[in-house]
Structure formats: structure tokens, C-alpha cells
Symmetry: D2
Subunit: 400 residues, 4 copies
């Protein structure tokens, strides 16, 4: 069956020429990202268990959950958490199927705790974290079972949609690049950098302002003087990285709310503000591409935690992003590309109501010469939708 | 001090000429909207108590919370909820100030229960609802107090932003109009219509498809036959309303996932799917203008529950929407208008880093002739930012 | 089948001649009694529902639950609760049976809330109380079903026992009498008397000291002066009642921990200390006869909340008490009587391993002349064990 | 000041000559004992922290808490827990004092988890256990501070009492001895024996029946045949031990509710029934001497979890037991001895209202010759009441 793929020319001011652009990323230790990461870990752990025990991934959606902040008394040299961070697992999962009992609640608690331990390595899992579980029962109807392994394409759970775009703008690349540099290069060397960083990039014309809220880990910082020194050093490091992505002027500011005189700085025991007052929820932070981009089309769906078999709010957001990136990589002449995929409830997920691409062409390129290649790439990706599912389960695709 | 207001011309394909447009609204009884409504009710109740007891609104942010679904056995003629819906209040609030104790937890629980009772009138509050509370302590530092009443303009809590647009597209107007018609006209007459409706509008060129997921209330529906009859009747009613907003073809479908043969229909005891499997969270549903509009710039901030004094994620989203609507109403020649407001942490909220308007002009209009009026309207609205706060506290502005 | 009934003479110093005797009662609003009352209410509500919907009482044990205290700021003239009292329902109940779904969680929540409302009439159920539920699933095995309605005698759930004694000593009668007088006569007239009273009676030889911890309800007491006046008045009233039960000297003291100078008195908003710091649990307070009597044999089993069909920890404690009281009422010559009933798991509940009575005779009476009547009364009561079940379900037998 | 010590002769049928005697012990892994052990661990951990950080033990009472059972699917060779066991910490503790913040919630969670890990070594702490905390704030009034370290004797928190007796009867010795043998000798060799054993001893005349409910650990038992073999072996072992304490006939039965044909046996994954349906609470199991003895005077107070400084419900139960045992060890001629200690609220804990001993003398002994020694021993113990506190904090005194 031919897929309904629409490729049209987009007449629009390119993002780089719009005066104001805003891009934000909440890194892994931000309370909202913690919630996302836990939700996705639980879905992956459940999927693996379902596959192992039942031969196919069963119904579940764990795209819910709440990080309720603890209380802490950070102190230069090392303070402590006084009230544990509380995480409530909700959502639902299939707990029995064909006479097989799947320990879904235990799996969820373990996945959550394992993930927290990985992201917040300095936290005392025995003391500072409470993981609670009120996960409901998923449907056990036979017809609800996802027959992903039997070669049949699953059917869409809802009439919904996903969006994606490529390539990243300078501001987006800066945020992505800085986040990666902090995570891959800086933190391993400077453990004072907590996992909870929020990077906001405001481009106003050709002036780029990067505002970073970065949790410092108190045990690795002996004094306010050292804090200031570290902050200055990191400001420079981040500025240097950011400049690799742009020729615009870049201004970096870390923890702008600090009041040094009053000794009020962004110091934490564990590297996340969830230890002292900031709650978090699934689906409130980054979109599927890892960013919050109000200048771009966005989906409100929480990609994290949804089942990777037939939940459009997950699959189509991931797919649309992959498609856009792949087209830009392989087809010449694309200045900007936006992909929207709309499902029809009950129809195979590889047969969307429409897969629509809008393309802003580079000077000298005609949409008609680009169209066939783009259509074909989209078609290929739809063909291999189940491959997205497998990548998600193996943890190869980030969802936030 | 002069405000930094930027008005520029937008060169873009008007929304009505884009091929695909998606618009969605989760009505008041949808689990995500329930969470939003509870969060905002709590913030309003706290604000009123703070004002009454302390003379000014104290620090709080209750933009958190989780609806954990119950279990139910709906039945034509009247079924029942078997496991109560659980709502967790989190966020934080000031509990003591200057020696005054504010019963914030009790206020929050009461506000939540009152709101649920109002939205789900058929629910048994004594049996089917659990409202739990793990709200943390807000800061009690004197400097954190919001001196809204002393004539000083509060300072922005963060470097953040808000977005808004006007006018509504046809698809947006249809969704808004249908939602209002259901709430104001149909449900009062036909109590079988639950509060949990999700209206999704997909415009593909000139074909408008309206997909409505509507919870039926079982006690008002005696049989599958009556269900079908009511569904057909409501489909016609809704189609008629939708057609008032467009000359495009409109196709309406209610509860497309129904399987009449299997007797599997969207029947509920209380009018919300939260009674049987669907969780909800604050900030996951409608944006500040009541819609989800992936074709428009959106903010990821939860508008509901945030403090209405200085939280940019709340105020600037509300303000940007008001500004855009006001400009379109008062200034001729605006085809579409997008407003973005960016704050600077620590600066007065009426002095944004930039208030940026992008205007797509109607044929025959020049941006330069429009500009002065728009600038002046934006400036007036910023001047009266605190008025937004008061409107929010009085419940005159919807946040979702 | 003949029952194994043993009646023997007890050679022991009669209670009234022992130097030290201690008796205590926690009245209905004490946190432990609240927990007991809620537990029993839930069991009764479940039993009635099971009977109505399934024709027999199904497996459940709700003899668990925790009152977690709230926080309050009582004030003469009327203060307020600042953090709601939290009650956790646990235990377990059958939720499905033979295809019938019993809304056990909803029933439990409703029963708990109804009970709290009855006992604490001044509390705001919408604001000051959180009832949460984590009740597990009871067994659904067919063989576990209690066939009480089919004329078969249920089988003991455990090898366990119950104890009872009669008649009440003077100290016991005083505590019972004072408690009843407070509940039936004083509180209806003087609503300042909260439901949370703890009455401790210490008899040291012929000196009786009655120490009453009595929660005052703040809205009915305008000042410390009025508090003192009311306390003095109530002290006299209680002393007068106590004296009706004894010719010994009686000393009554209310709220001995008060520090009037510091203004530290037992003042509450709602009439229970659960509002401000005192937790409570099922089974920690009064025994089945309504008293705590360290001079008498006691069972550690929580009578409240256990299923009334075959749980020996409930039935035999109630039965032993009834038997002892009935013997003392009907048979002359009994100075004191102690009944112990021991079950055998899996045997019919009317066939205990042994029903043992120890009797301290009055001067001039011989155990052998008393024995036959006592044996026959015990036998009759065992015969009608199921009648105890029905009385419990109808709420005619107090369990704490 | 002379202490009010009363020693009197008790005219009573010695326990060994009473026809029916019942003794019970819930071992460490029984849900009620788990709750007790956790409560006491938390109190000890808090006491140590208070001492370390504030120089004295601050106000706390953690004699509350609820074990809510999980769900499991035990299987010969090794099954698994499907829903984690949930433990709710309640009670209250001082969280700030003189400007010092004590991380009471974090301490409590850690103490609970450490204790569970110790008692249930095969449980997966990361997956099968949820420890939640709703502990309230203790009083922070300066006058409430316990000045145990300043040489002053603390004052009684309440008018309350404690009881104790010695020596143990044969039945009591059997239960104690069998419990110790299982814990110290059998389990280290045979890990199939779970920590959850309930030992009930019924002596009917000279026939002793020992009913043991013993959780088997499934990974150490490969089949129903091995289960039966192990049960038979352990029955013999336990009988042999029991016989060391008596010349009466002893009958031992393990897991009498087993239905071998139906394959229904007491098999568990973790060694405790809390994994599948049995809840537990603090203070519902063993008394301070480790036993439940309905033939002896008992206190209803939960000894575990109460503060060890001035809580009479804890101290006097421990003290009375120590005193009785010491007297019996040191003074000749005591057949049985019962100690009751009654406090007066606000008075020094070493000055009870009365410390009363009742002594049943051995043939040939006169109470008057025994009295002086007993009085002097009681006086010495009261003198060193604070030593009890220290022993409790160091974990040298068992409380259940």
C-alpha cells in the first residue's frame, strides 16, 4: 500500500535570520529530566522483561511519575541531604499475561533506582532516595498484545502526531555542544559539576547569550573563593566550546542568581536541585531531540516512558526527528526541514494518515528536484518503523 | 525606563495556507487538565490566604502534581469506581512567615477537593477520590517575599520566556468553539457527556477532520443502542457547530476506537478516564491559550500552579497571549501575530529583556504603519503586568 | 461431637485484694482507638457488601492501618489544623470473586471517612483528613470462601486463642463508668470535651487515682481561665461518677501535664491529639472488652478489623468475654472467672482445642456445684458462635 | 529520697500447675517483628546521631510504622517477589535544635533499610523493598530536651507502667530455646529456614504442643519432596531441643496448614510472609521479654521505637524484666516473681509512684526473709535507670 507522503516547499524566514531565537536544554540531573530518564528506564526494563518472558512487548505506558524534592543542607566541603528525594512511579503495565506473572512493580522500582544511581553517583541510595510505586494494571486483553515479533506491523494507539526538524540552528548546536562537552569532557575531570545543568541560549540578532544554571557538588568545592574560581574557569571553558559553533558574539553566564555576598550560591550535595526544593515531572522538559525550541514546531507528548511498540506520541516524534536529520544529511539543498507525521488510530503505524515534510530550500535549489529523494527516504524510514522500537528498547535512542 | 520592544515583519506562509494543521484541546475532565486545574486552584487558594493573612502573596509553586488513575467498572445504567483516583499534591509553599503559620497543606487539600467536586459532579468525594499531599516548604527568607502590594514591581524569578499568538486559525476556532459548545450548551442538557473530552482537529488542505474522544457517563446511558444514538446525535451537533467556523468540509468522529460488536466503548462512571487507567500530570496538556498547537510557537512551561507574582513561565505566557489578542482586536492589518517575551532574572517583570512581536500583515498593509500602535499596546500591557497577577488570583484568566 | 470444655478452681488472691491494680481505657478519639474504629468499620462495611453481592462474607483482614498525626495550631476560641491527619488503610480484602468485582478499596475509603466524620464531628473532612489506601488482594481461592450462610460452621484460620474475664473489678468499673458518662452525658452537654480521652486508674490499696488526659476543643473554650474552670468542673463531675462504683477514696486529676503559667494545656482544634503529633495504630489500645488490664490475662491480637467469620484472634476474644460475663450473671458463687479458648487450625470454630474456665469461688461456694452450669453455658455459646459473627457485622459488639 | 518499693507475697497457683498455658514468639522475620525491629533501629540511629551532634538524645518516638505486604510467586528452586514490600515510617523526631539540623528523615530511612537488609539477607534491597517516610516533627522546645548527659535524671513522660516476671516457665523456656536454636544453630546451616517463624506453645496439663509456622526459602528447596524431608528433619531437631527444657511430652508440628496434595505449603522467596499478604505493625507482637504470655501480666505498650530517655512505656518494661530476672538469679526461694512499676508524669524516672514486686515463694521460704534482698536489688536497678538507656542505645537490650 502506498504511503501518504507529502513534501512541500516552505516559504519562511530561515531560523538564523529571525531576530529572536530561544533554545533550552535540561541536562540529565535536572528534576524534569530525572523524571524522564526514570520513566524511559522503566519502559525499557519492562520491554526487555516482556520480550524475555512472553516473547513480545506487552502493553504499558510509564510516561508518568513525579520527583518530589527533598531537603538538604549543602556546605562547602560536603553537606548532607536531610530529607530524601521521593519519586512516585505511576503509569501502568501488564502484570499478568497468559498465566505468566510479570513482576512489573519490582522491575519498575529496580529500573528507577538503577537509573538514579547512574545519574547521581554521589547520592546515597540507601538514605537519600525513596522510590515509591503506584503503577496500575495494563490491559490484559489478548487483542491488546503487541505482536511486534510476529512480523505484523503494530497498529497506532491513537490519532496523534510527531514532529521533527533538521538541521540544528547555531543556537541549537551550541546548546547541544555545550551539554555534550560538560557531560563528556568537563565533568569527568571536574566532579564539582553536578548533573543538573539547565542551558538556555537566547540569540538576539547576532548576540548570543548562554545562561547556564549549574548545580555545584559541595564536597568538591572547599570555599566560596574556590566556587568563584571554578565558576570563572567553567565560564571560560563553556564560552570556548560555544564559539566553535558560531561566529556571532557569545556571552556566557553561570548561575546568575548567585548572591556571593550573602553566600547564596547554587551549591548542592548531590548535584541536583531535586535535593532541595525543585520537583520534576515526566514530559515537562526536553522534546525528543533533547531540546526545547519555541521557535520550532513542538509536540506536547512525553516521549519518555511510553511503550515503544505502538504509541504514536513516542514513535512519531522519534521517527520525524530521524527522518529530518537523515534527509538533511543525504539530500543536497535543504536549508531547513520540518517533518510532521499524523497517525490514524487502529491503522498500521507504518501507514500514517500523512507524513508531511516542509522544506526551506537553499538558494539555487528547487523543491521539485529534492522531492523524490526526500519522499523515498521518508518511505524507507516508515518501512522500518519497527527498527525504531528495537533501538529504543536497546537504549540507543535518547528520548529527551 | 524605556522598555525593549521589538516589532518586526514576518515573512511566512499564513497558517491557513499551510497544508497540514493540527490543533488539540484536552477539556476540563481530561486527566492532564484535571491536574492543571487542581494545581491552579491550589495556587489561587494559597494566594488568597497569603493576601488575607500576610498582606502579600508569599512564595509558592504548585505547578506539580500527579493524577494516578483508579479502577472502575462502568455499566450502562450506572456502574461504579472500584479503586479511588489518587491525586498527589507536590510543589512547595511558604508555611510560616513572620511568626504567622499558614495552613498551606490543609488549604491545598481543600482547594484540590473543591475543584474536583466542581469538575466531576457525579463523583463520590467520600469514596472515589484520594487527595494526598507531599508539598514542601517554600523559602521563608524575607528577601524572597513578594512585595506586590507595596507598589514595587516584582522581579523575574528566572531567565525565561512566554509566547502567544493571535488570531486563532479556523482549526483553532473550531476546537475552541466546539469545546465551549459542549461545556456551555450540550452538557447542561445532556449529562451523559463527561467532562473528559479530547478534541483533535486535523486540517489537511481544505479537509477538516475533528476527532473527539468523549467520555460518556454510564448512569445517563441505558444501553449500547442508546449510546450509539447519543453518539450519532452529538456527532451531528458538533459538526453543526464546527461548520459555523469554516467553509471547509468538516468531518466529525466521536470515539473512533469504539468496538461496538465487542461492547467496548468509551463509557465511564464519572466522566473521566482518570477513573480507569489514564494518569495525568500538570503541564502536559493545553498551553496558556487553552490549546495545543504544534504549528505555532509553544512554551513548555506549565502555566498552571506557578505563583502569579513573579514566575515568568506563568506571567509571560498569559501576557503574550493577551497582548497578541489585543493587538489583533485593535490594530488593522494584522494577518497573524506572534509575541515572545524574554525575562532577565532579577529584573522587574515589566522590563523584559525583550518583548518581540512578529507580524504577518494583511495584503495592502505595511508593517511600519502598524508598528507604533503595536508597540504602544505592548508597552501598556507591560505597564500593567501586576494586573495580570490580580486577574489570575481572582480566577479570571484561564491557564490551560 | 462433644466439646472439650475444662472448668477448674482457681486459687488466687482476688483482684480487689491485690495491692496494685492498673486499668486504662483509650476512648474513641484517641489515635489508637481511631485506628481500631476505622479498621473495624472497614471490616463491617466489607462484610455487608460481600453478603449483599456474593451471599457470603469473603476473605479479608483489615486489622492494619496507621494514623499519621497532622499539625495544628489550637487557639482559645478556635484555631486550625495546618497539616491534615493522614490515615493509611492496609490489610487485605477479596476484590474479585466468581466474576463479581467488589469495589473493596472504595468501600474501605468510604467506611474510614464515614467513621472519622462520626467520631470527630468538628473536623473538616474536606481539608483536614487524608485517607489513603494500600490494601492488598485477599485470596480468591474457592476453598477460602467462608460458607457461613450455608449452615456449615467455618474452620479456624489459625491455632490461636482468646481470653476474657468477669466480673469487672471496681477499678475496671470506674474506668468503664467514667468513659460512658463522658460519652453519653457530659460531652453532649459540654462539647468542649474532645473525643480523645485516656483514662488511667491506679488503685494502690484503697487509694484510687484516676488520671484523665482529655483533649479540650478550642472553639468551645475562650480563655485559659475558662479552661481551668471547665477542668475543675469536669474533675468534680468525674469524681462524683467514680465514687458511685467504690467506697475507696478516689482522686481525680485531669491533664496533669498542663503548665498553666506557660499556657501549655491540652487544647485541640478537633478533639484528638492525632491532629498534632500523636500517631496511632490498630491493635495497640484497648482489648476486646474495652480496657487495658495488666492485672488480667490479655491477648495481643487486634480484635478490630479482622474478619468476623473464622479469625480466632477476633472471635475467641469476643466469645470468651461474653461467656465469662454470662456465667457471672447466671451462676451464683463466682467471685472471678477467667476464660481461655484455644483453637486448632482447620477445625470448626465451635470445636476449640480447649475452652478453659478458671473460677475463683465466693466464700461458701464449691467449684463442683458451679461446674455443670458453667460448662453448659460455655457449650451453648460455642454452639452459637456464628451468632457472634452476625452481631459483629451488625455493629452490636464493640471490639475495642 | 527513699523510693516507694513494695514487696508482697503472692498466693497463686504456680504457672506450672495451671492446666492451660500459652506462650508465643514471633521471630525476627515475622511482619510484626520486622516492624518492631525497624522502629527500634530508627530510634537507636537517631539517638546516636543526637548524641554525636547535640550532646544529648533529643525528643523522638518512632514506635509507629506499618509493613504493607508485597506480592510474590515463590517457586521451588527460586521464585520472585512481584510487588515490593512497602514500609511506612511514621512517628516523630526532632529535626532542628539550637540551630543544628539533624537529617532525621534520612537517618530513619537508612536505619530501616540497613535493618531489613540484615534480617532478610536474600532480599534484593534495590527491587523488593520500598521504605517510605512520613515522620513528623518532634517538639523543639528547650524544656523538652533530655538532659541525660548532664547528670540529671530525666522525668517521666507520662503516668504509665511496665511489667516483668521471672523465671521463665518450661513453656516459655521451650519457646525461647527453640527460637534461639533456630536462629543460632539451624539457620546458619540450613538457609532454607526463613527468618519468619512463629512459635506457639500450648501446654495442656503435661502435654506440650509446639506449633511452628516457618517460612521456607524457595531457592534452597528444590521440590515438594525435599520440602517434606526438610520439614520432617526440622521437626525432629526442634523436638529434640524442646525436650531439653522439660520432662513433659512434647509434640512438634511445623506448618500445619500445609496441603501437600494441593501443593500449598509455606514457601517464600525471601523468608518472610510480608512478601505475600501479611502486614505487620509496631507493638503488635512480642513484649519486651521477647514473648507473648497471656498467662502473665502484660503491658500493651510498644517497647520498640520509643525514646530510651524518659518514655516509661519503654524503660519500665525493660527495667521490670531485668529486675525480676536479677532477683531470681540472686535471691534464693523465689518460685515466681512479678514486677510492676508505675510512673508519675513529670517526676524523675528513678522515683516511680510505686515499684511493686509480688513473689510466690518456694516451699520452705518466707517472704519476710526474701524481702530485704529484693528491695535492695530493686533500689539498685532504679538507681541505675540511665544505664538502661545506654544499653538500649548501644543495642544491648532487645525490645521485642
Amino acid at each position: 500500500m502506498t504511503r501518504n507522503i507529502s513534501v512541500e516547499w516552505l516559504d519562511q524566514i530561515p531560523i538564523e535570520k529571525q531576530r529572536i531565537e530561544l533554545v533550552e536544554r535540561k541536562c540529565l540531573g535536572h528534576p524534569d529530566s530525572l523524571a524522564d530518564g526514570i520513566a524511559e528506564s522503566i519502559s525499557r526494563a519492562l520491554s526487555r522483561s516482556y520480550l524475555e518472558e512472553c516473547g513480545s512487548v506487552l502493553h504499558h505506558n510509564t510516561d508518568q511519575g513525579e520527583v518530589v524534592a527533598g531537603e538538604s543542607i549543602p556546605k562547602f566541603g560536603g553537606g548532607r541531604i536531610t530529607r530524601p528525594i521521593y519519586f512516585l512511579i505511576s503509569g501502568r503495565a501488564t502484570k499478568t499475561f497468559n498465566g505468566i506473572n510479570i513482576p512489573a512493580d519490582a522491575i519498575a522500582v529496580e529500573a528507577a533506582r538503577d537509573y538514579i544511581k547512574e545519574i547521581l553517583p554521589t547520592i546515597n541510595m540507601n538514605r537519600d532516595i525513596i522510590v515509591d510505586c503506584r503503577m496500575g494494571n495494563g490491559s490484559t486483553d489478548l487483542q491488546d498484545v503487541f505482536r511486534s515479533c510476529e512480523g505484523k506491523v503494530p497498529r497506532a494507539n491513537d490519532t496523534s502526531f510527531g514532529v521533527g526538524h533538521a538541521p540544528f540552528s547555531e543556537a541549537e548546536s551550541i546548546v547541544k555542544g555545550v551539554a555534550a562537552y560538560i557531560d563528556d569532557t568537563l565533568r569527568p575531570k571536574y566532579p564539582v559539576i553536578g548533573q543538573d545543568c539547565k542551558i538556555m541560549c537566547l540569540r538576539d540578532g547576532d548576540a548570543v547569550t548562554l545562561t547556564v544554571a549549574m548545580a555545584f557538588v559541595d564536597r568538591y568545592c572547599s570555599s566560596i573563593a574556590e566556587y568563584v574560581e571554578q565558576k570563572n574557569f567553567l565560564t571560560e571553558q563553556i564560552a570556548a566550546v560555544a564559539k566553535q559553533f558560531t561566529r556571532r558574539t557569545v556571552n556566557v553566564a553561570i548561575n546568575t542568581a548567585d548572591d556571593l555576598e550573602a553566600g547564596s550560591v547554587f551549591l548542592t550535595v548531590s548535584g541536583t536541585s531535586a535535593e532541595m526544593g525543585d520537583d520534576g515531572s515526566v514530559g515537562r522538559g526536553n522534546r525528543a531531540n533533547g531540546l526545547i525550541t519555541p521557535n520550532r514546531p513542538m509536540s506536547m507528548e512525553a516521549t519518555s516512558g511510553k511503550n515503544p511498540i505502538n504509541h504514536i506520541g513516542k514513535l512519531y516524534n522519534l521517527l520525524a526527528t530521524q527522518v529530518a536529520q537523515d534527509c538533511v544529511a543525504k539530500v543536497d539543498g535543504i536549508e531547513e526541514m520540518y517533518v510532521r507525521m499524523v497517525s490514524r488510530i487502529g491503522y498500521p503505524i507504518d501507514q500514517p494518515h500523512v507524513a508531511s515534510a516542509q522544506i526551506l530550500t537553499k538558494p539555487g535549489y528547487d523543491i521539485n528536484s529534492i522531492k523524490p529523494d526526500v519522499e523515498s527516504i521518508i518511505d524507507e524510514w516508515l518501512e522500518k518503523t519497527p527498527a525504531i522500537t528495537e533501538k529504543v528498547i536497546r537504549g540507543e535512542l535518547s528520548t529527551f
